[in-house]
């Protein structure tokens, strides 16, 4: 239950980041949407990773972010949050 709540929060926050950054319609963003479908290239993703790192207060190491769908971004972000959580909860959560 807790895990599901974290996941939906991550997805919602990711959606907001997408809409702020790109020209995506929030309606077309769901877990199965692919980055290819959204027309994001490698440069877009490098830029977007910076926003993700800021939003979730995580550090994504180089070479460790191979994702194809929004589901995979959510999973990776949740994994980094979990791995990098120091015990002090973020003020954004």
């Amino acid at each position: 239950m807790l895990e599901k709540t974290v996941m939906s929060t991550t997805l919602e926050r990711l959606k907001q980041l997408f809409v702020a950054k790109f020209d995506s319609d929030i309606e077309e963003l769901n877990l199965t949407t692919t980055l290819e479908y959204l027309g994001l290239d490698s440069l877009d993703m490098v830029d977007f990773l910076f926003d993700i790192e800021n939003e979730f207060e995580i550090k994504i190491p180089d070479q460790e972010f191979r994702v194809r769908t929004i589901q995979e971004i959510v999973d990776a972000v949740d994994r980094f949050i979990s791995e990098q959580r120091t015990g002090v909860s973020s003020d954004k959560q």
Binding site: K21, F22, D23, D47, L49, E53
Partner: protein, 412 residues
């Protein structure tokens, strides 16, 4: 093989309007784009005035595009898109290989550099925006334009301070004239109205003081009470096209670019040499096959600094002799400010509009004659209904670079 070069498209983003029509009518009406600096840090500055562009990038670009471009790139691409639309050169894949871009800018992505340092030094950031390199690099504007229109010929960037975009147009002209390409988008852009930019210029002690009665009247080229230049920003881009191609496709030809003079003072970084300014004018006339008496209008560099206006006056006298007192010379920087790397292209556009409108824009705020500046500077009121067939645009830069462009009305 020397080929002729037509100007078939014009585009502008300026403190006096973001379309050619608005820009043209504002300048003829003597309407200034100079005003109080709008930024939050303005209270920290000694300089109080600038010629800022009223520009909302989201009216021109998608969010994604905006996030990948410095303000200077946005100006350049917006001006290029106007010029492209004006020209409608409709190139096929093969023709795009013979089409290129040449853009001048003094400082490139100045806003991005400032944001970068702000984050690093003021906020102790340990990482910075991933696209920083791509937004700071001076060739980004040219590349964005090349990508937008799929032009795969030369994609060049020239940086010669305030002559950058005059040089860019001149060198693009040579590319077409000498047969390397058939079409070039050429011009320049600048967006360096940043806190650091203002501070840097302040320290040089060349900026105008604010007019106590009316901020918009602070830039006074050739007037005895001139106090310096007013910093501006913006972009101007033109489509240059090989003449036969332009005629064959029935393009609207604004003018023929006929001469380009390019010299260096080889003397001092900031102190100008009127000899080399004069030589740049003479070289442009020589290439154009024109006599000084053929020129109907000169758009002066006319920055309104104490020393540069009399020197340019001397240079014009050296080239034009007795005719110097007869040819109308105006500094439209009095209205759009000194747009630095964009100024050469912006004032080339002003010169072409003089041909198009058969009208000469004024030098505004010229209320006190200076004995050292004794030409016809078209004081305060533009002149309509005059014959303007041939024009010259002067650009003289810090570093000692001089660039002069000469264009003439299409015959027939």
């Amino acid at each position: 093989m020397k080929r002729r070069v037509a100007v078939t498209g014009l585009g502008i983003i300026s403190p006096c309007g973001n379309s050619i029509d608005e820009f043209s009518s504002n300048l003829m009406a003597g309407k200034s784009g100079v005003r109080r600096i709008s930024s939050a840090y303005s209270t920290l500055l000694s300089v109080k005035i600038a010629a800022e562009v009223d520009f909302n990038p989201f009216n021109y670009f998608t969010k994604r595009q905006v996030s990948t471009m410095d303000r200077v790139n946005q100006f350049a691409l917006a001006a290029a898109s106007q010029a492209w639309k004006d020209s409608e050169p409709s190139l096929d894949a093969k023709e795009k290989e013979r089409a290129g871009v040449c853009i001048g800018s003094g400082m490139g992505g100045g806003n991005t550099i400032e944001d970068l340092y702000d984050q690093l030094f003021k906020h102790n950031a340990d990482r910075v925006r991933p696209l920083t390199v791509l937004m700071v690099m001076n060739n980004a504007s040219a590349s964005h334009i090349s990508i937008a229109y799929g032009l795969s010929g030369p994609c060049l960037t020239l940086s010669t301070a305030c002559a950058s975009s005059a040089n860019a147009i001149g060198e693009a002209f040579r590319q077409i004239r000498d047969g390397y390409v058939d079409v070039m988008l050429a011009g320049g852009a600048e967006a360096f109205l940043t806190y650091g930019g203002f501070r840097s210029w302040e320290s040089l002690r060349v900026l105008a003081v604010e007019d106590p009665d009316d901020s918009s009247k602070s830039c006074k080229p050739f007037s005895k009470n001139r106090s310096g230049l007013v910093l501006g920003e913006g972009a101007a881009v033109v489509v240059l096209e090989e003449m036969e191609r332009a005629i064959l496709r029935g393009a609207l030809i604004h003018a023929e670019l006929v001469g380009y003079g390019s010299t260096s003072d080889a003397f001092h970084l900031t102190k100008p040499s009127f000899d080399q300014q004069a030589r740049a004018m003479s070289e442009a006339l020589r290439e154009a096959g024109l006599l000084p008496e053929d020129i109907d209008y000169i758009n002066a560099h006319g920055t309104a600094t104490r020393w540069s206006d009399p020197l340019e006056t001397q240079a014009i006298k050296k080239v034009f002799g007795d005719y110097a007192c007869k040819v109308p010379v105006s500094s439209t920087k009095s209205m759009h400010g000194h747009t630095m790397g964009a100024s050469g292209a912006m004032e080339f556009v002003v010169s072409l509009l003089a041909i198009k409108n058969q009208a000469v824009p004024p030098t505004i705020n010229l209320d006190q004659p200076d004995p050292e500046c004794d030409l016809d500077y078209v004081p305060n009121i533009g002149r309509k209904g005059v014959q303007v067939n041939t024009v010259m645009s002067n650009s003289f830069a810090f570093g000692g670079t001089n660039a002069v462009l000469v264009a003439r009305k299409m015959k027939g």
